[in-house]
């Protein structure tokens, strides 16, 4: 490929491993790793590949080896031409594979949000190490501005986490979420940490459905028959299209390759969240306080809603042939519904409070995000179905709704003052937004004595189903106050008996401000510093789990969380000092 000439197209196609290398299907008479082509934003790449947002650096810390990148920046050849041995043994293929999936996930976020998305660190290029170390772990690390993918030997050969579509999409989502909501990686409650994990799983799962050629061939392949035949049949049996069958399909298991190795059970996924049958007891069950486990509840609620909508649509299509439903139609419906839900799930972040997020807040954000762009919910009934699905897991929306629509955020009650701020500046200038906040601090229920900072101001443009653009400006602020435990009472927050009086604690608050196209405040989604009940609960959790101890809070959060999960540890030890 000529690197000097700018590409003409807006996108390029790159060949990747469709699911993971353990997933092999008979295709063209041979059993092979399933590959596919995906579209990513086109750009003039440097060797690495190294692009405007992603820089692959193939350093292996365990063996202290820095691999040279390919001088040729190719697109990997057509999927059918690739041999399994080449896929597994060529580090240049691995580098391209991670580059492509990271870029695709980034592009998906930018499409949903209608704006460029920044990483959670000062820099434009996320570094990616496809063979970072010999370890069954992969994670995003903000301190290193990087995604790290480990590799490890198994009974059947080397497992490369960088070749698992789910894992790469999952870790990229951590990085993107950190760019959008920096405080979500703070220890706060089991639910906030769980949100990072659950949301990353949702994005990874739903992203797969847009690989139409892959879904087409494996939709009726059960996870227990992972080495089955890639189907070219025109029809899918109606029996394969029940929620239960789809839940157990190869498409809805996360990180199959790692899952098999860790559980020792072939075909069993590391986290098969979708099979978590609806039950109101999970939320209070101690087992579900571990972030990955708790994240599964969120995934289950969302994926079950997806399946319900999909199956209902298929039922409406009816049986067009005695042999089943038309395969292309089934896939097309699934892709469209997954795409819709994925966009809704990403957009909801703009409507979620920037600190101390709970699943119930996210549901209200999800419903509001959708209602704002699509008033009429009659095509899929998604809002109704999501509301019901969350309720089945005892996750009612935080907001009661605005009368017409249950669960959505209500507009601010008070009339805001706009006289001293300027419409134009309010769309991009954090100082101007801060002035607006300060002018209206009483009505916005801010705590005057706290350190307050506008973290971001982001104008965005989203296209609605009616073809008109929805213009919004999303601003995000946080408040923080540092106190000694003995001073908590002055704010009405209960100090824990076990906590020494001189223990330093940080109390956070913050909100998302959603302005309409005229610069008027539509929503103020916030958690107040003076919400004493919430703050007391948060401190209890942090203290009991040792997060207030010196040096414990920033310790490689995501990597650490993955490790705790692998070790079967729900959380750090309780504070026994």
């Amino acid at each position: 490929m000529d690197q000097s000439a700018p590409p003409r197209q807006r996108t390029r196609r790159i060949t990747i491993v469709a699911l993971d290398p353990s997933f092999r299907v008979k295709r063209g008479g041979r059993k092979r790793i399933l590959t596919t082509e995906i579209e990513v934003p086109a750009e003039v790449l440097a060797p690495g590949p190294s692009g405007y947002r992603v820089q692959v650096i193939d350093y292996d810390a365990s063996t202290n080896t820095l691999y040279k990148p390919s001088r040729e920046v190719s697109d990997g050849g057509r999927p059918d031409e690739l041999e399994d041995s080449q896929i597994l043994s060529d580090p240049h293929f691995h580098a391209r594979n991670v580059y492509a999936i990271v870029m695709r996930t980034l592009a998906r976020f930018e499409f949903a949000l209608g704006r460029r998305v920044s990483w959670g660190f000062y820099g434009h290029q996320l570094k990616v190490a496809p063979h970072a170390f010999a370890d069954a772990n992969a994670f995003y690390t903000e301190d290193n501005q990087a995604l790290m993918f480990g590799y490890f030997p198994s009974r059947k050969g080397m497992v490369f986490t960088c070749l698992s579509h789910h894992i790469v999409a999952h870790e990229t989502t951590h990085a993107l979420l950190d760019g959008l909501r920096q405080r979500y990686t703070d220890p706060s409650s089991p639910e906030q940490a769980a949100f990072h994990e659950g949301f990353a799983d949702v994005v990874a799962l739903l992203s797969i459905f847009s690989l139409r050629d892959v879904v087409r061939g494996v939709i009726d392949l059960r996870s227990k028959r992972r080495d089955g035949i890639f189907s070219h049949s025109q029809f899918v049996s109606a029996a394969a299209l029940t929620p239960e069958k789809l839940r157990n399909s190869v498409l809805l298991g996360l990180a199959e390759e790692m899952g098999q190795e860790l559980s020792g059970v072939r075909g069993d996924a590391l986290r098969r969240s979708a099979t978590l049958i609806p039950d109101t007891r999970y939320m209070d069950d101690p087992e579900f306080r571990e972030p990955h486990r708790r994240g599964e509840i969120l995934v289950a609620a969302i994926i079950n809603a997806f399946l319900e909508v999909w199956v209902k649509r298929l039922r409406d299509l009816g049986r067009v042939s005695p042999r089943g439903l038309n395969r292309d139609r089934v896939v097309e419906e699934g892709a469209e519904i997954a795409d819709y839900l994925l966009t809704m799930s990403i957009r909801a972040l703009d409507y979620a409070p920037p600190v101390d997020l709970q699943f119930c807040d996210y549901l209200s954000a999800l419903l509001t995000a959708d209602r704002e762009i699509r008033t009429d919910d009659s095509k899929y009934n998604f809002r109704k179905i999501l509301l019901e699905s969350f309720n089945r897991y005892k996750m009612p929306p935080t907001s009661k709704g605005d009368g017409d629509e249950p669960g959505v955020w209500r507009p601010p009650r008070a009339r805001m003052r706009y006289e001293r701020t300027h419409f134009e500046s309010m769309q991009r200038d954090p100082n101007e937004v801060f002035r607006f906040i300060w002018e209206n601090r009483k009505d916005l229920e801010l705590f005057e004595d706290a350190y307050t900072r506008v973290q971001s101001v982001r104008p965005c443009l989203r296209i609605g189903p009616d073809g008109f653009a929805l213009k919004e400006t999303i601003a995000e602020y946080i408040q923080m106050i540092e106190l000694q435990a003995s001073e908590l009472r002055s704010l009405g927050i209960k100090a824990l008996k076990a906590m020494p009086a001189d223990t330093v604690v940080k109390i956070y608050g913050g909100g998302a401000l959603v302005f309409d196209e005229y610069g008027l405040l539509k929503f103020h989604v916030h958690n107040r510093i003076l919400d004493t009940e919430r703050q007391t609960k948060r401190l209890e959790y942090l203290w009991q789990h040792g997060y207030i101890q010196k040096g414990s809070s920033l310790y490689r959060r995501i990597s650490h969380m993955h490790r705790l999960r692998a070790l079967g540890l729900a959380a750090p030890r309780p504070n026994e000092e």
């Binding site: 650096i57 350093y59 292996d60 810390a61 365990s62 063996t63 202290n64 080896t65 820095l66 691999y67 040279k68 043994s89 060529d90 580090p91 240049h92 570094k127 190490a129 063979h131 970072a132 170390f133 010999a134 370890d135 069954a136 772990n137 690390t141 301190d143 290193n144 990087a146 790290m148 590799y151 490890f152 030997p153 198994s154 080397m158 190795e261 860790l262 559980s263 020792g264 101890q549 010196k550 040096g551 414990s552 490689r556 990597s559 650490h560 490790r563 692998a566 070790l567 079967g568 540890l569 729900a570 030890r573 309780p574 026994e576 000092e577």
Partner: protein, 426 residues
């Protein structure tokens, strides 16, 4: 009552072995003396000590027990508890201890040879225990491999981080010579768990003993949380990974791919960060396996002449949780008069819930005041900046405030390498 039915005095000899444990209990009867050695290991010698410290300690033990040990307790497999049992062609400290021909050797159930992955005979309920012990074996293997990986990372690491890793890695390698020697010495071997008979009843008459830990997987839900089936598999994977990394012929993951001998400038920032990150990861892993190993510690409680003496090895919170969940055990622990401080004074080895049980704690001096003995060495384990230093400053302050506190760090002279505590028994 026969003259030797009950001891009239107990002497506890605490040896200065740096970062490690070594305690000799001598039960004095009218006609005889009976000796129990609890642990003999070190993973860091005290400053200004001659290289032959362990030999001197071994010889002192032999002299004190007049060539006959009645029992040896090896609380768990860490180097700082068993390295002294290593042999060296008949001239090592372990050879000297073996020559004292202990009647009984007591170790945790995890050392039971019948639980080894290749063992032919199985215990009653082998699967979960076997899975657990296989996990422990993998941890030793990983520790060995980690030390090799650490050698590659060394140029990019700070001294503090390197030392911590090297210390934990060394402490968790298999200590093969010591392990084999422990298996060979002693007429009887007992592999105990919570509630087992200790096996000491016959060798120290008139002394009641309780085994309060470690629980086995069937006994304790707490230990299961720490050692789920996934966790066993995780350690297995790490062990495989370690083997791959430590193979001498592995220069790279893709041996035929081209690599740089000198990294280009634009990659150095990330490489430097990745080396530190990797070291942090390794530290996280070896800390986790160190905790698991500590939690296999035998916890022994002796009761004699109205006094109770508690030796918990390195048991940490997870090990203690099972015993402390039993009200009868909590009552039993209330009147402990000597507490060998767990795990050299680490953060999690003296749970608050245990400490609060001791009724002999007092801020004023008295004959009945709780005696705490700690064998430790500052600056070897953990870091003050993370609040994990051993001994933990906060704990030491509390121990000093509410008990008669003794630390082996007070034994500084070249010739002073032990201290005796005598307890008159009713």
């Amino acid at each position: 009552m026969p003259a030797d039915a009950k001891p009239y005095e107990l002497r506890l000899r605490a040896y200065q072995v740096g970062f490690g444990d070594c305690f000799l209990l001598t039960f004095k009867y009218e006609r005889t003396r009976r000796h129990v050695l609890i642990d003999f290991g070190s993973s860091g010698k005290p400053p200004a000590t001659s290289e032959d410290l362990m030999l001197r300690v071994a010889n002192n033990i032999k002299d004190s027990c007049e060539g006959k040990l009645h029992a040896v307790v090896a609380t768990h497999r860490h180097k700082d508890h068993i390295s002294g049992f290593a042999t060296r062609q008949g001239k090592g400290p372990g050879d000297i201890i073996a020559s004292c021909k202990p009647e009984v050797v007591i170790q945790p159930w995890t050392e039971d040879p019948r639980l080894r992955p290749n063992a032919r005979s199985a215990t009653q309920r082998p699967s979960r225990r076997k899975s657990f012990t296989a996990g422990l074996q993998c941890m030793h293997e990983f520790s060995g491999a980690m030390l090799k990986e650490l050698a590659r990372l060394r140029p990019g690491l700070g001294k503090g981080l390197y030392n911590q890793l090297a210390f934990l890695g060394e402490d968790n390698i298999k200590n093969k010579s010591a392990v084999n020697n422990l298996m060979k010495m002693g007429r009887r071997h007992l592999y105990v768990r919570f509630g087992s008979r200790s096996g000491l009843e016959s060798v120290i008459p008139g002394v009641k003993t309780w085994v309060l830990g470690p629980p086995d997987p069937e006994q304790s839900e707490e230990i299961l949380k720490m050692r789920s089936k996934d966790a066993d598999e995780f350690w297995h994977l790490l062990s495989l990974t370690g083997k791959f990394i430590s193979r001498s012929d592995v220069g790279a993951l893709f041996p035929t791919a081209e690599s740089y001998s000198t990294p280009p400038p634009q990659t150095r920032w990330l490489i430097h960060h990745m080396q530190s990150l990797r070291a942090d990861q390794l530290l996280e892993i070896v800390r986790a396996l160190d905790d698991v190993m500590n939690n296999t510690s035998v916890i022994l409680l002796f009761e004699v002449g109205g006094k109770k003496f508690l030796f918990p090895g390195d048991a940490q919170w997870e090990n203690w949780t099972y015993a402390l969940s039993k009200p009868a055990i909590c009552t039993l622990l209330e009147d402990v008069c000597l507490y060998k401080v767990g795990h050299h004074g680490s953060l999690n080895a003296t749970p608050k819930s245990l400490w609060k049980l001791f009724k002999n704690r007092s801020t004023t001096k008295s004959a009945a005041r709780l005696q705490c003995v700690i064998s430790t060495m500052s600056g070897k384990h953990g870091s003050a900046s993370r609040g994990t230093e051993v001994p933990r400053t906060k704990l030491v302050e509390e121990l000093k405030k509410e008990s008669d506190y003794f630390t082996t760090q007070e034994l500084r002279g070249k010739k002073t390498f032990f201290k005796d505590f005598d307890f008159r028994l009713r």
